[in-house]
């Protein structure tokens, strides 16, 4: 059974929420919707759930047009950002609710509820009411309820956004286990966090302002963003973007930082480009002889998890440098940063990718 | 959409019942107002706008409207001030807070006409307790229900007793829903109780104040039951409100057609006045927002 989203658009009161979304998802696939706030992720999920109708286009599942099937007859689950559970039912009954609606036998319900509760580690809480639980436990309940019925389509709308980051980490570690049995399900997980999508793997659809920017295997899209907008959405911290040009066989960045043309750029025609550089490609120490050195002033050292994002200012341009570990930088301090031109992306004047750094897939093992 | 048939199940029963009970009578009233239906010749003839031209020169009607406006606005303003004050009193920690909160609500639970019956005995000039107590305090006797001015005061007093609780209830609910931080911030900024009230409490309560005032104005513009029991509009016409005057014309004199035209006029004027008042209130309470 595959899910086909056929040229779907959605507008509300003349405002476009989604425009020409066109893609196919296979049974057993895990898909991430990545996009900033208001990029149309929730709108798309709601269309797929059947909670809203597309303005134009069709959504097909297993060859059947879904538009004539009401929500309650579809086999769809959805987990929201808010922790939505039935307040008047205890955790057991919350999880059992969809099964009871489907008319399953008592013993079958009991077996499934307990198994799912165990997967989500809430089996000790079955007789509590949702109001007595912490946010993390409430979301576990909601997840359990959405998993228990074995839906064809499991939609997760930024389910961890309202949890603090240690709890998010906990969920991330468990997701492999929680979503282990998805052979018959299409899972779609929306997120604003590039790191989270990379962690979830699978396929990705990058959305921005209601448009479908790129669709493909998550890590491929990360290495080869089709356009500047994808690179912008799919990097945290944002990819550094610098106006520049290819001139006389050399690359000129900004106000005249001239670099030799590295191998992946040899095919670039002369002209104006936007050059992109991931924050982790910049470092505070020289890593190789080819490195370019910049002198810059520190705007802020922002700590994120176990990294430090150093916001710097060089020649009227703001850059972000990602430094491993937690470090302190004082405002206005002058530092030297280094980068290797091998890591530069180039985007043409239309914003389309012109050259991407070569990625040697580490000698790393495959996913999982 | 598929929900469309199901969603009607919710709305239609209530809507149809209400339309049936309200709209037809309303249209009927309008139709009757163009007829000369009275006790001698009951029936729906057509006399055009005669009833309406008659009411234009009916000074008793216009006076009753003026009186109504005075009494309604007067009582509502007093109720608002008292209700707000009471809500402030039992908002924070007070001993037996829960008891007082309910006690203050009790009058609105009671039947206005029945309590008016009791009030009549209280206002009794020689046998009632009010004059007795005033006498005891050395303040002399007041002709509560027998002079025009005091009769209006009596009616207003009963209305205030009855309905201040309603104001109190809504305003207290409002106060209880306010966030704590603005008050802490004001304390930290060094504001005293008065500054805190005018800079924090009152502005935060503005939307709720407007709501309660409008609701009470709507209810107060219908005043008639208290009048009926307490004074029967008297002495003379001193406490005759519009509703009461229409009642006299329509259901005592049985001039149905004329009473209908009075009703329609009254309703239209009321809606107009309330709309204007609502606009005015919004401006009065949150004008500075827009500056």
């Amino acid at each position: 059974m595959s899910l086909i989203i056929d040229n779907v658009s959605k507008s509300v009161d003349g405002e476009i929420h989604l425009q020409d979304i066109h893609l196919t998802m296979q049974k057993g696939s895990f898909n991430t919707l990545l996009g900033p706030t208001l990029s149309g992720k929730t709108s798309l999920l709601r269309l797929l759930a059947g909670l809203d109708k597309p303005t134009s286009g069709r959504i097909m599942m297993g060859g059947q047009d879904l538009s004539s099937i009401p929500v309650w007859k579809r086999n769809v689950s959805m987990v929201y950002q808010q922790f939505i559970n039935y307040p008047h039912l205890d955790i057991y009954e919350n999880i059992a609710f969809p099964l009871r609606r489907a008319g399953l036998a008592k013993a079958e319900i009991d077996r499934k509820v307990r198994a799912t509760a165990e997967t989500l580690r809430i089996d000790e809480l079955l007789r509590r009411s949702p109001g007595e639980l912490s946010g993390g436990q409430q979301q576990r309940t909601a997840l359990a309820r959405s998993l228990v019925k074995g839906a064809d389509l499991l939609l997760l709308d930024e389910p961890l956004i309202n949890l603090d980051y240690k709890l998010r980490e906990e969920f991330h570690d468990e997701f492999t286990n929680i979503f282990a049995d998805n052979r018959d399900t299409i899972i779609i997980y929306s997120s604003t966090d590039p790191l989270e999508s990379l962690l979830l793997g699978g396929d990705i659809l990058v959305l921005d302002e209601g448009r479908q920017l790129q669709h493909g295997p998550t890590h491929d899209v990360y290495r080869n963003p089709r356009m500047e907008a994808v690179a912008r959405v799919f990097n945290d911290p944002q990819m550094n973007m610098i106006n520049g040009r290819v001139e006389n066989g050399r690359i000129v960045l900004g106000q005249g930082l001239t670099l030799p043309r590295s191998t992946h750029m040899t095919d670039l025609r002369e002209g104006k480009y936007r050059f992109g550089l991931r924050a982790n490609a910049l470092g505070l120490s020289r890593a190789s002889a080819d490195d370019v050195e910049l002198e810059a002033r520190v705007e802020l050292g922002e700590i994120n998890g176990s990294e430090t994002f150093v916001h710097i200012h060089h020649n009227e341009v703001s850059w972000v440098v990602q430094e491993d570990g937690v470090h302190t930088h004082s405002l206005g301090q002058v530092i030297r940063v280094y980068f290797n031109p091998e890591y530069l992306f180039a985007f043409d004047e239309k914003g389309m990718l012109a050259a991407a750094p070569k990625y040697v897939p580490g000698s790393g093992t495959a996913e999982e | 959409m598929l929900v469309s048939r199901q969603k009607l199940i919710f709305l239609l029963p209530g809507l149809l019942v209400l339309v049936a009970i309200i709209i037809f009578p309303l249209l009927f009233t309008i139709r009757v107002s163009f007829s000369s239906w009275d006790v001698m010749y009951p029936g729906l003839d057509w006399i055009g706008g005669k009833n309406y031209s008659r009411l234009f020169s009916d000074s008793r009607f216009w006076e009753s409207l003026q009186r109504l406006a005075g009494i309604a606005v007067g009582t509502v303003v007093i109720e608002y001030l008292l209700g707000f004050g009471l809500a402030l009193l039992v908002w924070k920690e007070v001993r037996y807070k829960r008891f007082f909160r309910v006690l203050f609500l009790v009058p609105m639970m009671t039947t206005p006409v029945i309590m008016s019956v009791i009030w009549r005995t209280i206002f009794h000039e020689s046998l009632g307790p009010l004059n007795n107590i005033l006498g005891f305090l050395g303040l002399g006797q007041v002709p509560w229900l027998s002079t025009a001015g005091m009769a209006v005061v009596s009616v207003m007093m009963v209305e205030i007793w009855q309905w201040t609780p309603f104001m109190f209830l809504l305003l207290l609910a409002g106060l209880l829903s306010l966030p704590k931080e603005p008050f802490q911030a004001a304390a930290i900024d060094g504001a005293g109780p008065f500054r805190t009230f005018f800079m924090v409490t009152f502005p935060l309560m503005a939307p709720i104040s407007i709501g309660t005032l409008i609701i009470r104005l709507i209810e107060a513009s219908k005043i008639m039951e208290t009048v009926y029991v307490l004074t029967s509009g008297g002495p003379g016409t001193a406490t005759e409100t519009s509703s009461y005057y229409i009642y006299i014309r329509g259901l005592r004199d049985f001039q149905i057609g004329y009473a209908a035209s009075l009703s329609v006029t009254y309703l239209v004027l009321m809606i107009l006045a309330l709309t204007i008042l609502a606009k005015f209130l919004v401006r009065a309470f949150i004008s500075k927002d827009k500056a």
């Binding site: 603090d164 700590i303 916001h311 405002l331 580490g362 790393g364 | 500056a291």
Partner: protein, 364 residues
């Protein structure tokens, strides 16, 4: 202008603590130096809000004294304490202008009009609010409103401490770093004691010179961001700071090695630490510092690699060691061995904890 001292301050909401666990805030001594930027960091329910309320005077501690510049203010109400506070949700006087908002605390203090005007304009300039001085405060965006709340603290000369209670909760994520920068700038310019209360690690570490980490009603460590990361003095800090969290394994000391299960890690210095017989002993090491080598050497241990997650900027490998899953963070550029690798515990980054508290060898 003052140092804030907490002498034996503790709080129990029920009033009658019978055991240590009854305290929402366990009795403690702590000083806040004048002019520094502090962050009070901990998960919800750790007692940080109680501590904040004790400083601001909304709660009277059930034990101990609070001193501002040596003066006992334990019994003083909030209004008398000369503190300023920015709340989670912006608090503004919504029916007056930005100017009047900023002037309000000074008017309450009956300052002369020209001095009020001077201070308001000075602070407005610092907060980039000069353009908006005449507009109604209610119509500004959330971040501007939050700046006004901050400004009402800054206009005053008498502020002993500026308390910030999760002030960036309602701020757009992309504006957050601008505001973080502004806060740091203000701390530099005004030399005012600032205490930021937050559950957000990144917020706290970015803002503060000194981060005070709290857990279960206690302060578990006070230090710079780098200290907390590199040398957590409590297992909670190792878990709470950094992502992914520090790896911990129960262990025993055996000769010149640390023994985890049946595996021996040769760490002669650490093995000299005195360990009480009943104590819970653990070693901890951050995923950033644990090394996964391609080739065996005398100080490495062979481990199977369970999985590798590619997170773009870096990868996380999970290996199994003596029955424990350990995470190792590996930069994008460095290759990872497949299936099995050799684990090395660098001495400098391997920590020993007894009953959750860091124990260092005598010579260190």
């Amino acid at each position: 202008m003052a140092k804030i001292d907490l002498n034996g301050v503790g709080h129990c909401y029920s009033g009658k603590p019978e055991k240590l666990e009854d305290f929402a805030l366990r009795p403690m001594n702590h000083s806040w130096d004048h002019g520094r930027a502090y962050a009070l960091l901990g998960p919800s329910g750790c007692g940080k809000t109680t501590l904040l309320n004790i400083i601001s005077g909304l709660i009277r501690p059930s034990e101990g004294r609070v001193l501002f510049g040596g003066v006992d203010v334990t019994d003083q109400p909030t209004a008398k304490r000369n503190i300023a506070q920015v709340f989670q949700f912006p608090v503004i006087y919504k029916n007056v202008t930005v100017y009047n908002n900023l002037a309000f605390p000074l008017r309450c203090r009956k300052l002369p009009a020209d001095e009020i005007d001077r201070k308001v304009r000075e602070v407005a300039r610092l907060l980039n609010l000069t353009e908006q001085l005449k507009s109604s405060a209610a119509r500004l965006s959330a971040d501007a409103k939050q700046l006004i709340s901050l400004g009402r603290g800054l206009v005053r000369n008498d502020v002993a401490a500026l308390l910030l209670d999760e002030p960036l909760t309602v701020i757009d994520p992309h504006l957050k770093w601008l505001l973080r920068r502004k806060l740091k700038e203000i701390n530099d310019t005004y030399n005012q004691t600032m205490v930021l209360v937050t559950h957000d690690q990144n917020e706290a570490l970015t803002f503060a010179e000194k981060v005070v980490v709290m857990q279960a009603g206690q302060i578990v460590q006070v230090g710079t961001a780098q200290e907390l990361f590199e040398n957590p003095r409590h297992t909670f800090v190792g878990y709470f700071i950094g992502s992914p969290a520090m790896n911990f394994m129960p262990c025993r000391l055996d000769g010149n090695a640390v023994k985890v299960g049946e595996e021996r890690i040769s760490l002669p210095e650490l093995a000299t630490v005195d360990v009480p017989p009943e104590g819970k002993v653990e070693i901890g090491i951050r995923p950033e510092f644990l090394k996964l080598e391609h080739d065996a050497s005398p100080d490495t241990l062979e481990v199977p690699i369970l999985n590798v997650r590619d997170l773009g900027n870096f990868r996380i490998a999970t290996v199994r060691f003596a029955g424990h899953d350990l995470k190792i963070k590996i930069p994008e550029a460095r290759p990872i061995p497949s299936e099995k690798g050799f684990l090395r515990f660098p001495r400098q980054w391997t920590k020993l904890y007894v009953d959750d508290v860091l124990r260092e060898p005598a010579g260190a």
